[in-house]
């Protein structure tokens, strides 16, 4: 009765197509149409500039707390760009670029971050779940959606996003396990941005990679350079094709970096060194992808980018103005009783009436007596 080796798959690959110096591995270059490449680039740039504008609005006190995405645009867009609109996306709370790609308007995001529940509304024709703040809890919803798609014989797939910290929560493990057991068409995209607020990736788990966690659940796992749009796209394409053709779930670990603060309430200087941030600025996904589009694909030029910048700036400004206009129309507090139940129960009807009475009383007290 010797100790025999059990042969289980223990291979984890790291995929990089366009490295940080902008050098391209021709053999691995994915085929992406010119239109799609340009669309991805536009949304990347928009995501970056919108992030900057949101930060600016937050600092002026015009919106509340939000989670910046700067540095993570490729990890998000490389993945969602593979989806078709009937597929599903299940975000966490740091997927602004991915949400915009899926059709979420900038004004709805501004409204949401201004503390209006109306900003969280998902249009009926958009297959996204709303933002999910409790870390990792939405992974199981993604698995459930995917199971339901299978049950209804649809060939759509589900893609869900979460961070490196999320892999420590029990729900992450339950999600991967259920997905493996039921072979659901779900793609788990982990944005390993190296930090969970102040806790570095190295303190989150003893595992060498996050991708390897897939192996324990009998599903494929792959690590990619998350700042390399082409690598993320290739990995996502492979995973989506597998899911769509009945091959089950995949875990993709995108190695990326949060260049800004965790949220606007956080001060990263307390826990990380500026040198580390600068190192990652050198791996910024945006200029890397731009270089590829300019030099390799001849699709862009400095002038074209400048024009795009102006266009985007105007687009963001228009969204900010639309959001302001909507906010001014949304002063009605009684709407906080909406959408709690399908039908307002009696106790809430009473409470709503009480608040309405209070509000009209206030008006009187304010001098209309």
């Amino acid at each position: 009765m010797p100790r025999n080796k059990i042969n289980i798959s223990d291979e984890i690959e790291h995929l990089s197509v366009l490295n940080e110096k902008g050098q391209l591995d021709k053999d691995l270059e994915p085929e992406i149409s010119e239109t799609l490449l340009l669309n991805i680039h536009r949304t990347m740039l928009l995501g970056r500039r919108f992030d900057e504008r949101l930060l600016n609005l937050q600092r002026q006190g015009r919106i509340g707390t939000f989670a910046p995405i700067t540095g993570q645009e490729a990890a998000q867009l490389g993945a969602v760009a593979v989806l078709r609109s009937s597929d599903w996306m299940v975000p966490s709370f740091r997927e602004t670029a991915a949400e915009i790609w899926r059709g979420r308007t900038m004004e709805s995001l501004i409204l949401y971050y201004s503390g209006f529940n109306e900003g969280g509304r998902i249009p009926d024709d958009m297959n996204n779940l709303p933002v999910c703040v409790p870390v990792a809890t939405h992974l199981l919803h993604a698995v459930g959606l995917a199971w339901a798609l299978g049950y209804r014989k649809k060939d759509d797939v589900v893609m869900t996003f979460f961070g490196d910290g999320a892999t420590s929560e029990g729900d992450f493990h339950e999600g991967l396990n259920f997905a493996g057991v039921y072979r659901t068409p779900v793609i788990f995209v982990c944005q390993n941005n190296q930090w969970a607020i102040s806790v570095p990736r190295s303190k989150q788990t003893r595992s060498q990679t996050l991708a390897q966690k897939a192996l324990a659940y009998g599903i494929p796992g792959l690590q990619v350079d998350g700042n390399d749009l082409l690598a993320v796209y290739s990995a996502a394409k492979e995973a989506v094709e597998r899911a769509r053709s009945g091959g089950g779930p995949t875990l993709i670990e995108c190695v990326t970096y949060r260049l800004m603060m965790h949220t606007t309430a956080d001060d990263p200087k307390r826990y990380r060194k500026e040198e580390e941030v600068q190192e990652w600025v050198g791996r910024d996904p945006l200029p890397r992808f731009q270089k590829y589009l300019i030099e390799n694909k001849k699709l862009l030029s400095k002038e074209k980018i400048d024009r795009l910048e102006t266009e985007i700036k105007e687009e963001i400004q228009a969204a900010v103005e639309r959001a302001e206009e909507q906010k001014s129309k949304l002063k009605e507090p009684l709407e906080m009783f909406d959408h709690v139940y399908a039908e307002l129960p009696k106790n809430l009807k009473e409470q709503k009436a009480q608040l309405a009475g209070e509000l009209s009383g206030n008006k009187k007290e304010d001098g209309h007596d």
Binding site: V133, S198, M336, E358
Partner: protein, 326 residues
């Protein structure tokens, strides 16, 4: 004596207790290097080291579950759940184990741990960062549930919670973390669990509240005194469970009028239990029905509307005047 905020007062309690008892271990998300997202544990990892201040992986169930094991062995873990809205990821550990281990093992083991967690609205935060769900924990036999209302009592109460032999859920009113300062003595102070406090004496009406709602209650009391000549008696519950009904029953026997103020939703909230006790123990002294000024039975709205949800001075004053009219 120093004039400090609640954040600093809590920090002082932790620091002084940790100096006295090396069995006290802090654990939670971002409690070490970052000093906690609200800075309550600031400087403690530098002073006590990584063996006593653990920056844990991101897992609430892990934090509480591991604390239970530490406590069963005789240590005194003080864990932090970053926001009470995320404490549900450890709910099963609290309900199924922390509150029951003493009972299940027939006294062989007990769980002298504290779960500190910020609760409540008023800081313009995202979803899950503003709720007030003390009722969940007050409803669990075997558990103690406490909420301080200012820096000085926060410090004393945390000391007592740490020393308590049973598991204590310690809700921190985040709206008060830096809202005001109080003189806090350097020397040790404790605050017995299960005892409420008389904060303001009065004859006409009893207000019963706790936590962040103590301030609007006291402001309302002073407005009623100035404008209406109404003398309000104000009681700070401090401990939600096990509930001390002696003081407020006595008070209502004197005033004949009672109000309960909390930001938690009304139905099945702490107010429901307080009103029941009054009906059971002071019914014949009541001159008017008891009133509750509370949050509505809805999810607290995102911050642009949260001030319409939270009880405020105006609402409390109006309700008090109503009681005095009848």
């Amino acid at each position: 004596m120093t004039n400090i905020t609640m954040v600093q007062a809590l920090n002082l309690a932790l620091r002084q207790e940790m100096e006295k008892d090396d069995g006290i271990i802090l654990l939670g998300e971002d409690v070490g290097v970052d000093g906690g997202v609200f800075r309550v544990t600031e400087g403690l990892i530098e002073k006590f080291g990584e063996q006593r201040v653990l920056d844990t992986p991101l897992a609430e169930s892990g934090i509480v579950g591991m604390s239970i094991g530490m406590a069963a062995y005789g240590l005194r873990p003080v864990c932090e759940i970053q926001f009470s809205g995320f404490s549900y990821l450890s709910f099963h550990q609290i309900e199924s184990h922390a509150s029951r281990l003493r009972w299940r093992s027939q006294g062989r083991f007990h769980v002298p741990m504290v779960v500190r967690t910020p609760y409540g609205g008023g800081v313009r935060a995202l979803e899950h960062h503003s709720e007030s769900r003390e009722a969940f924990y007050a409803h669990m036999p075997g558990l103690k549930m406490v909420i301080p209302s200012g820096p000085r009592i926060a410090r004393a109460l945390l000391v007592s919670a740490i020393r308590d032999p049973d598991p204590v859920i310690f809700f921190e009113p985040k709206a008060l973390y830096r809202a005001f300062r109080e003189e806090v003595p350097d020397e040790e102070e404790t605050c017995p669990l299960g005892k409420s406090r008389l904060v303001l004496e009065g004859e006409d009406l009893t207000m019963i509240s706790y936590g962040a709602m103590m301030r609007p209650s006291l402001d309302a009391a002073s407005e009623l005194k100035d404008k209406d000549g109404i003398r309000v008696e104000v009681i700070d519950l401090v401990t939600i469970s096990p509930l001390d009904d002696e003081l407020f029953v006595q008070s209502v026997k004197k005033t004949g009028r009672a109000m309960v103020i909390h930001e938690a939703p009304r139905s099945f909230g702490p107010g429901a239990e307080i009103v029941s006790r009054l009906v059971e123990k002071a019914f014949f002294y009541l001159e008017v029905p008891i009133s509750r000024v509370t949050g509505f039975d809805i999810l607290i709205p995102l911050f642009s509307r949260e001030n319409y949800y939270l009880p405020n001075v105006q609402r409390i004053v109006r309700s008090a005047r109503q009681l005095l009219k009848t």
